[in-house]
Amino acid sequence: MDEPAFVQHAVLLSLVLFALGTLGVFLRRNVITVLMSIELMLNGANLAFVAFSRALGALDGQVLVFFVMVVAAAEASVGLAIVIALQRHKDTLDVDAFNVMKG
């Protein structure tokens, strides 16, 4: 895997994944699918970190990927807890139903 083309294509793939995640956040209406699209965006960012770390020959990018994964785990657990609370409160998972701050 020494061909530079792979690194460039990995960066391109990361951009495609990030764009698809953005599309999902905008187009989906289920809160859980929106959270999954955010995971997709985080993975696109991770892939860019790894590809650039490879291209520059430095390992700092990989350490950042580690921290991104930790934050993603925390985000998913808190986000899904909020989803459970919302479902209990409003009896739906449609993002359009959650339009007031004070319930």
Binding site: L20, T33, L40, A51, R54, V63, F66, A73
Partner: protein, 163 residues
């Protein structure tokens, strides 16, 4: 061989990502996301980062996706209904514009990226641990444990029945 594996995994990742955002049933989305994460793990491995590849499978495809599926099953989520006319068109236009922006950025980045320092690139778990536990990152690493603890307490407090 590497080349074939790389492009096959990349294609699989893109197709399953499309399924994630195109599927109306969230359970199918979750399973497609597992496929995306695993093919990304293959790509991490091919790019020379076995540690990140293992973490991807264990933390993402293992822990986080189990959490998602657990909540999906717990809440008994049904298919998304088609809601007529909620300004989805405007959102779709914004989304397409964003995608165009990202692709433009991709062209800018790719034309400037000059790989070449890859010889002697060593991202083994030993090297990763040496960097992660060096004074440079040690306190950040310890801070993440507090973050995880806070997330744990917060998740339990939020999901409790009577708060």
């Amino acid at each position: 061989m590497d080349q074939l594996l790389f492009y096959a995994s990349a294609a699989l990742a893109v197709v399953s990502a499309l399924v994630v955002i195109g599927q109306k049933n969230p359970i199918y989305s979750a399973f497609a996301l597992v496929v995306t994460l695993c093919s990304l793990a293959v790509i991490f491995g091919l790019l020379g980062s076995p540690f990140i590849a293992a973490l991807q499978v264990i933390v993402y495809a293992g822990a986080i996706m189990v959490l998602f599926l657990f909540v999906l099953m717990l809440l008994n989520v049904k298919r998304e209904e088609d809601a007529p006319g909620r300004g989805g068109r405007a959102l779709a236009v914004i989304a397409v514009l964003l995608v165009a922006l990202f692709v433009g950025q991709a062209g800018a980045v790719l034309s400037r990226l000059e790989p070449g320092a890859a010889s002697g690139y060593d991202a083994s778990t030993r090297r990763m641990a040496e960097i992660l536990f060096s004074p440079h990152f040690l306190y950040v690493f310890e801070a993440t444990s507090i973050l995880i603890l806070a997330a744990l307490v917060g998740a339990i407090a939020l999901a409790k029945k009577d708060f």
